[in-house]
């Protein structure tokens, strides 16, 4: 093996170890931003592995796409997650032990398959320009695949815009808050010191029934997790909703 081959092997092992470590850290970090960066690191290592395997074009595509995708994911993390900076301990898992057992069994099964299957020996040499090969395949025998992928991407664009726009069919359906155009008349605005008193009557969550099989999730989300903080106006049913929209009336 040449020096280049040895170095490629070393880099490949390092990237593989880094990819797995970053993947595990995704679900261990408290900070959502760090989890996003860990996922980015793992997927960049995947792109590096693809580059080392000789698929230059696809490796670069993966690296560029994952970088932009994780940047977008970071924005959504800050938008939706209650603890983007990881300033408080946070655990948002259900059935973690069962999930660990299932994933461990899957890993064991896949590993057994890897070492027990008699893999064939390759009799074909890698093409000099795999990108050229890929292009000819997509424009030739795999044209149907390419057309299907194009339609899927187009459908994804339409579905994304339809779902995400606020004025569409899936826009806000909650009734208008009972206050006039001058703004909410909730005591929050005039009696700020009384907020702790409100919190006692607040924690009723409108979308989780007491007899619901999902009622246990409320216990999982203790105030230390940040999401179920009774002081959060979402829980109070207050018209002064932080994410609320203006009363159209």
């Amino acid at each position: 093996m040449t020096d280049g081959g040895v170095w490629a092997g070393v880099v490949s092992v390092v990237l593989a170890v880094l990819a797995v470590i970053c993947a595990v850290q995704v679900f261990r970090f408290d900070s959502m931003a760090r989890a996003t960066y860990a996922l980015l690191g793992s997927l960049l290592c995947v792109g590096g592995e693809v580059l080392l395997l000789g698929l230059d074009y696809l490796g670069v595509v993966i690296v560029l796409m994952m970088t932009v995708e994780m940047a977008l994911m970071g924005v959504f993390m800050v938008m939706f997650m209650m603890n983007p900076g990881g300033l408080m301990p946070m655990t948002m898992v259900h059935n973690a032990r069962g999930a660990a057992v299932i994933s461990g069994l899957v890993f064991a099964g896949l590993t057994a398959g890897i070492f027990l299957v008699p893999w064939p020996v390759s009799r074909t040499r890698a093409p000099a320009d795999p990108t050229h090969d890929l292009g000819r395949a997509l424009m030739g025998p795999h044209m149907l695949t390419m057309m299907t992928l194009g339609l899927a991407l187009f459908a994804a664009i339409v579905a994304t815009v339809t779902l995400a726009t606020a004025r569409g069919r899936y826009g806000p359906s909650t009734p208008a808050p009972p206050h006039g155009p001058k703004g909410p008349e909730h005591p929050d605005e005039t009696e700020a010191p009384e907020r702790p008193h409100e919190q006692e009557a607040a924690p009723e969550r409108p979308h989780v029934r007491e007899d619901s099989p999902h009622a246990h999730s409320r216990e999982d989300l203790t105030p230390s997790h940040g999401r179920q903080d009774p002081a959060h106006p979402r829980e109070t049913g207050s018209p002064a909703h932080p994410h609320g929209r203006e009363d159209p009336s």
Partner: protein
């Protein structure tokens, strides 16, 4: 480096992602697990291309996996946005009305 090492990496990524998909309550974290699983598929397809079949089929599989990642991320975030707008829900346990 041999095919086994790359397939082991792929299996590890797939399993870690599967753990995330099964255990996470946040929809966004769940999608992170899906991304990891698809990353494992990409590594496996690239390794099969390099070590076993140097034709274009494995490359096409990588293209399909990358496209699925993009579609999953876009539609997933759109669904989360729609859910959050209408129900203020971003957790899987709270978006299970169809089970009731």
């Amino acid at each position: 480096m041999s095919l086994d090492v790359f397939l082991l990496l792929a299996a590890a990524l797939f399993s870690v992602g599967l753990y995330g998909v099964l255990s996470q309550q946040s929809v966004v974290m769940l999608m992170m697990g899906l991304e990891l699983m698809l990353g494992g598929v990409i590594v496996a397809a690239a390794a099969v291309w390099h070590f076993l079949f140097a034709g274009a089929d494995a490359q096409v599989l990588v293209v399909v996996a990358v496209t699925v990642m993009a579609v999953e991320m876009a539609v997933g975030f759109a669904v989360v946005t729609a859910l959050f707008r209408t129900r203020e829900v971003d957790m899987t346990d709270m978006a299970a009305e169809l089970k009731e």
